[in-house]
Symmetry: C2
Subunit: 156 residues, 2 copies
DNA sequence: TTGAGGTAGATGCAAACGCATGAACATCAG
DNA sequence: CTGATGTTCATGCGTTTGCATCTACCTCAA
């Protein structure tokens, strides 16, 4: 990897970070969330994308939260009747998480309003840029297998 | 705004969110951070980008953290000798925040290692995509003035 | 079949966070 | 000059988070 390519990569990542922070703040300031925090909405949204119940660790892939924090967040949402926990018949350790009717309704209600704000914020991009961003995000999120396996031992 | 454009905008934003979460997790798992949390590094990095001391609220624009949380994070970094707080002579309310020598050194040490990981993660993109991402991020972060000023009153 | 090692999720606890609010200063109309 | 309003940062307090660890279960070689 050349130095200029590394510099460009870091500039691109910083740009993504800045945009993420700026838009997250803008969205958080919108009066659309009702009694859901953005993180809670994130969990409900992730569940709403899947027809099948999700395992906790599957949720954890999408939500930027530690496993214990996610476990307790799911706790609270279950106590509030928005999520249903069920034991996984195929794996005695696991749980199957699904939206309840109330949870789905809450996700739809908030999600509809949030989508409007997202569309407004992203509207500064051209259609072409939106397509580019979607493609770039997909490539970045795709797990790259460790090209240098000895990185594992490089731990402190 | 057409419905298809809104859908594309939301897909693009979700793609950005997913990439952000995936890469943040990957970076957090790297054994490069020493005694700095990623948020602490973020603050040190932001300060390192500016020659002049920063005000707390200026830091807050870049760091995704509430003002009280940022105030206390700065507290801790100052106690550890990485940041210097000084009263702002031009504004009795404000503080001027700057890296100490130790803070700059810590930022450089961790930043150098982190940049390698960033470059590796972003290397899945072509040069052209890196440029696109940088441009897109810049456009998204640029504050769009409220096109519909009556949104202010639409608060609950 | 068994037991060693791995994985999924829950829990104790200290640290950190967000919300509401306070204190100090700045600004500006009258 | 003065008081009303806005801004900047700090602090009290209840909630949430992360780290370390625990329990329960799964997997698989011997």
């Amino acid at each position: 990897m050349t130095a200029s390519r590394s510099r460009r990569a870091n500039a691109a990542w910083e740009s993504l970070l800045t945009a993420h922070a700026a838009l997250m703040k803008r969205f958080a300031a919108e009066p659309i969330w009702g009694e859901l925090s953005m993180r809670e909405y994130d969990v409900l949204y992730t569940l709403s994308k899947h027809a099948e119940p999700l395992r906790l660790y599957e949720l954890g892939r999408d939500v930027l939260l530690s496993q214990p924090a996610l476990s307790r967040l799911v706790d609270r949402l279950a106590e509030r009747g928005l999520i249903e926990r069920a034991a996984d018949p195929a794996d005695g350790r696991g749980v199957r998480l699904a939206l309840t009717a109330a949870g789905r309704e809450a996700q739809r209600r908030v999600g509809g309003r949030h989508a409007v704000d997202v569309a407004r914020a992203v509207a500064v991009l051209t259609d072409e840029e939106m397509r580019q961003l979607e493609a770039i995000g997909r490539k970045l999120a795709a797990r790259t297998e460790p090209s240098t396996p000895d990185r594992q031992e490089a731990s402190r």
